[in-house]
């Protein structure tokens, strides 16, 4: 630590606890309470990074979230390293390791800096313009551009830290703990409102807490002392929650806000362990008070980006709050009074101020007079035309401004300095206000956008509302808060306030230089390296909208979202284009206000908690029996059960053969099950399915097809009539939730007169499907007293039965075309019954099969899978399922759409079977089908929807949708693949057992 850069009398930094940290590999020291930025400055390190485009040396410029330059990489661990963090926001802790970004091989010697010499030929949108041709070279260009443009390195391993989410409800949320925020929070709390005060810093009080100046006094105390006392009284309120290190990220409609609380980022490495790192607060506030303060503007002049050029108010904070001198010979450059506060602070801490360069003609405000009294030299009506020093500023060139401010006149004065404070006035932090939908208005007198209208119950107070002077802040805060909270609080009403008032104002968005504009580098966006020249170029090239200029020049598009100099960009655009700033408007401020970590956004929803996993009651059995699983929606379904080294194809071939030769067992628990009851249940089914239901006998099952109102197939499944007014509907696995919602919708909104109740019972029952010629024998072993004769228990019927005294429903239904049964049993018993069935089936080589075999078996029978063979454009007629459309019913969902002019077209895509000429050739699902091979371009007639090698038929089979397919049966078609063309023939969709003999085998 360079000792002479620290001052000793400081209230905020504990100079007894020394902390060691590393920056770019070098061990340095700071104190508890420092930020990385203040500690670096105390070590006389200004150069911390290279700029994005030109790789110019850049230094710390600010002291908070608005910092554009001091962007560093924190940590080295592959799972914990964090890029793009602002050194001004990192609290120093023992063991901190940080490094510069965007430079190679080092920040002091950066190869990319060659760009700076080429900068005249790298104008705005250089990349867009240069790398346009030839178009297919972009891939190559992109590789190099991305490589050279990278900002920081992302971690390569999963984050080990813990993050958290919490909800917070309050009457009043105060965002920002500066003087107005403190007054607001106290007033709210005093009036028994449940109040929350958040601030992104570790200490409350904003900038007033270190404002110890004769020109700013409250009730005869320095404003910092007065505020300190106010803050101390806050602890007595039980209904006031204070959260420091908490930054508001987003302000959404209906006063819903997101805030990120840093819990361990400031702790020493060994204290961080096993603690929650950051918490995202989801806040719903009845009323919101925004007191986020203002950001000091830089000034736009030639070479205004050198390390050592710092916002004047930040220099003040570094000296008054952190006790750090940003330099030994500091010059200041301003267009307003606030730089004089800095000058006085520096002076009283023993730092010599070379001079203040002020663009104004002269002014006599209280604070300026005080500065003059202290002997501080002022260059009135002057500007800085250039700065010198490559890696650190070492001199400034001062010239007099012409009367109209557009040029410089007279002799150039050279002034040596090691730091330059700049102040271009103040920009209210209106970001959150506009995020919430608030509209801004432009105030001409000092060129600021201030909050105007809002739809929400909220208010902006203090400098974010455009009040920059102490007496105004206090007076207006009191009035606004009392009105907003509908309270009468006199505690702040008769304060005696001394406040210097700014008398003269002058603003020049782009300061002139003695060189022509094209030969200068007046930076606007320090992080994205865009200059005033770029903005002017964009205007010349025809960009008029501020949103377009922003994107073309990338001004304001860096991680700081242009917090510092968006206003200058607007000013220069307005001036150049000759429009009023109020009419030009601003770009949109979007959340997050400051970057959020992914960890904070995701919270606890990582790993197994990322998404819900649904498991069937028999899941453990499948795991024990080495099943491979497939995700179907949130369900884990057994996909196939490989034996030894079988691959999927081999396993599926074996399972499929076994199921048809003897017996197979499938876990069908995931199918959606909806319990339907009520006196109008039959009528309801008539309306939602295409076929008729009134005459379905009790104890019988029926397959149903459900359409959307547009006539397209939506879902299908078997529904069983359990009693007169009681049905059990099954849906597809993936469609269960949507079907229930859709049915509820119709019941509640279109047919409220129907007496029908729907209950989802998907999770209540496990479903065991046993199929194959020996299935009957297995069921008779499991339930000996059940009459399984075709007469008593025919296909498409159901029986109640007991298995080990447990009630179950047995449906004789089949999705494979085999004689088969489905046992529905309470979930908690499903695994034991499954095991019982498996045991009973061992004599018959019962083979567990998964979803893949199920798909193969049904494809052999030409049964569709809604969602695989249909895609929301298939009518039942397209599926060749005309038989399921009731001609008698007056209406059902989708009926009218079945004879719209488009749905009755005969050349629609229709479902057909496909056989490959070579029976061993298996088509790819999704492959396109054409009628000709030697034509280009050729019409795509359709595509393959399902394709398998059938072990039972010993040939490849496929289902496909083809234009006009019904009429093309027997026709030859072609499936062109990458390196061959497969010859196919269109067939019927049923490949196996067309007479359905196996159902009763």
């Amino acid at each position: 630590m360079t000792k002479n850069l620290r001052i000793t009398n400081n209230k905020f930094i504990d100079q007894t606890s020394r902390i060691s940290f590393k920056f770019d590999g070098k061990i340095l020291y700071g104190f508890k309470g420092d930020t990385l930025a203040s500690a670096l400055l105390a070590n006389n390190i200004h150069l911390v990074g290279r700029s994005f485009k030109y790789h110019r040396p850049r230094g710390i410029m600010a002291c908070g979230s608005e910092e554009p330059n001091a962007i560093v990489q924190v940590g080295k661990d592959a799972s914990m390293t964090e890029p793009n963090t602002r050194a001004t926001e990192i609290e120093l802790y023992e063991g901190l390791e940080a490094s510069s970004q965007n430079c190679w091989p080092s920040v002091n010697f950066d190869v990319g800096a060659i760009n700076n010499f080429f900068s005249p030929i790298i104008p705005a949108a250089f990349y867009y313009k240069t790398f346009m041709w030839p178009a297919n070279f972009w891939k190559l260009y992109e590789y190099f551009i991305r490589k050279s443009a990278g900002l920081g390195k992302s971690p390569t391993k999963p984050d080990k830290d813990i993050y958290d989410h919490r909800y917070l409800h309050c009457d009043v949320l105060v965002v920002g703990g500066g003087i107005s925020g403190i007054m607001a929070a106290k007033t709210a709390a005093k009036n028994n409102l449940n109040t929350v005060l958040i601030d992104d810093k570790n200490i409350l009080g904003g900038t007033t807490i270190f404002q110890q100046n004769e020109c700013f006094k409250i009730n005869n105390s320095y404003s910092n002392d007065w505020l300190k006392k106010e803050i101390d009284t806050l602890n007595s309120f039980k209904n006031l929650t204070i959260k420091t290190r908490t930054s508001l990220a987003a302000y959404h409609s209906y006063n819903y806000l997101l805030a990120k609380e840093n819990l361990t980022d400031h702790l020493d490495l060994n204290e961080k362990k096993d603690k929650i790192r950051q918490r995202l607060w989801k806040i719903r506030a009845k009323k919101v008070i925004i007191s986020t303060g203002a950001i000091e503007r830089p000034l736009i002049f030639n070479n205004n980006d050198r390390p050592g050029i710092i916002l004047s108010s930040s220099i003040k904070k570094y000296i008054d709050f952190y006790g750090v001198k940003c330099g030994q010979k500091i010059s200041l450059f301003t267009n307003n009074d606030s730089a004089y506060e800095t000058a006085i602070s520096l002076n009283s801490s023993g730092v010599s101020v070379n001079s203040v360069v002020d663009i104004r003609d002269k002014t006599n405000s209280l604070i300026v007079k005080q500065a003059e009294k202290l002997g501080i030299k002022i260059h009135w009506k002057s500007t800085i035309v250039n700065t010198n020093g490559y890696k650190k500023i070492n001199a400034i060139e001062i010239m007099k401004l012409s009367d109209d401010g557009t040029a410089v006149v007279g002799k150039k004065i050279n002034e040596k300095c090691d730091c330059l404070g700049i102040s271009g006035g103040w920009t209210p932090r209106v970001h959150l206000f506009t995020q919430s939908g608030g509209k801004l208005k432009f105030r001409d007198k000092d060129n600021v956008f201030v909050p105007d209208k809002s739809e929400l119950d909220q208010i902006s107070i203090g400098s974010c509302n455009g009040d920059f002077e102490l007496d105004e802040v206090i007076k207006n805060t009191v009035n606004l808060i009392n009105k907003f909270l509908k309270v009468n609080n006199s505690a702040y009403e008769n304060l005696e306030i001394i406040s210097s008032k700014e008398i003269d104002k002058k603003n020049i968005w782009l300061l002139p230089s003695d060189k022509p504009l094209g030969k200068t580098k007046p930076f606007l966006d320090f992080q994205n390296d865009s200059t005033a020249i770029d903005v002017k170029l964009a205007l010349r090239e025809g960009f008029k909208s501020i949103e377009h200029v922003k994107r073309y020049t990338t001004t304001g598009m860096a991680t700081d979202q242009g917090k510092l100099s968006n206003m200058h960009a607007l000013g220069i655009i307005a001036e150049t284009a000759g429009v009023k700033m109020g009419e030009l408007g601003t770009t949109t401020f979007r959340p997050p206000y400051t970057p959020l970590t992914f960890g904070a956004i995701v919270g606890r929803n990582v790993g197994e908690f990322f998404d819900i996993t649904r498991k069937t009651p028999m899941h453990d059995w499948h795991v024990e029996n080495k099943a491979e699983f497939e995700n179907v929606g949130q369900w884990k379904r057994a996909w196939y059960y490989p034996i030894e080294n079988e691959n999927m194809y081999e396993a599926v071939q074996r399972e499929s053969k076994a199921a048809r030769d003897s017996a197979g067992i499938l876990d069908a628990s995931t199918l959606g099950k909806i319990d339907i009851q009520g006196t109008d249940a039959s009528e309801f089914l008539n309306r939602v399915y295409t076929n008729a239901w009134s005459k379905l006998e009790i104890g019988k099952c029926r397959y149903g097809l459900m359409l959307n109102e547009d006539g397209m197939v939506y879902d299908d499944g078997v529904t069983t009539r359990l009693s007169e007014n009681h049905y059990l509907m099954t849906t597809t696995t993936g469609g269960a939730a949507n079907v229930l919602s859709k049915l509820e919708d119709y019941l509640q909104t279109e047919w409220p007169e129907l007496d029908v109740y729907l209950t989802s019972v998907t999770d209540h029952y496990g479903t065991i499907s046993i199929c194959g010629p020996n299935s009957k024998k297995i069921i008779s072993k499991v339930i000996p007293d059940l009459d399984l004769s075709d007469k008593e228990f025919p296909h498409m019927s159901y029986k109640n039965a007991l298995i080990d005294n447990i009630k179950c429903r047995i449906m004789r239904i089949s999705f494979t075309g085999e004689h088969s049964y489905e046992i529905n049993i309470q979930s908690s018993y499903a695994k034991s019954v499954w095991e019982k069935c498996f045991e009973a089936g061992k004599d018959f080589n019962i083979t567990p099969y998964g979803t893949e075999t199920m798909h193969l078996l049904r494809a052999e029978k030409g049964f569709i899978i809604a969602g695989q063979d249909t895609d929301g454009t298939m009518t039942p007629v397209d599926l060749q399922m005309d038989w399921i459309i009731s001609k008698k019913k007056y209406d059902f969902i989708g009926k009218r759409s079945l004879y719209r002019s488009d749905t009755i077209r005969e050349d629609r895509k229709q479902l057909v079977g496909l056989l490959t000429d070579d029976p061993k050739e298996i088509l790819e699902e999704g492959a396109q089908i054409v009628a000709e091979t030697n034509k280009q371009p050729v019409e795509m007639l359709g595509h393959v929807t399902s394709s398998y090698f059938s072990p039972n038929l010993n040939k490849s089979i496929a289902l496909a949708v083809i234009k006009n397919g019904k009429k093309l049966k027997g026709q030859k078609m072609f499936v062109p693949m990458k390196n061959k063309t497969i010859n196919v023939t269109i067939t019927d969709t049923v490949f196996l057992d067309k007479e359905n003999k196996r159902l009763n085998a």
């Binding site: 409609s253 006063n255 719903r284 919602s741 919708d745 509640q748 279109e750 009926k895 009218r896």
Partner: protein, 91 residues
């Protein structure tokens, strides 16, 4: 993120709800008697107003009830919620 006053449950976060499009589009009682154009009017045509709009909402992660909402799409202000079958509380 809206705060929606479900007519059955009270104020709840928007994440509990699903929007269901324009309200008061009644399914025709005699679809078969409609021309293609008339049916298409019911099936496809929606207003998508900038301004005050009547909408269907479902408290899908709550009571599962459908209800209607009067919402200004230009500023997201919810003027009223009312039950299915009731008349909108504004003109």
């Amino acid at each position: 993120m809206f705060l929606i006053n479900c007519p059955y449950c009270g104020e709840r976060d928007q994440s509990e709800f699903t929007a269901g499009g324009e309200a008061h589009i009644v399914r025709p009682k005699q679809p078969t008697e409609l021309s293609d154009d008339q049916w298409a009017e019911f099936l496809f045509m929606r207003k998508n107003i900038k301004g005050v709009q009547l909408e269907r909402w479902n408290h899908s992660h709550g009571c599962r009830k459908w209800f209607n909402m009067v919402r200004d799409t230009s500023n997201d202000r919810i003027h009223a919620v009312y039950k299915m079958g009731q008349k909108p509380p504004i003109e």
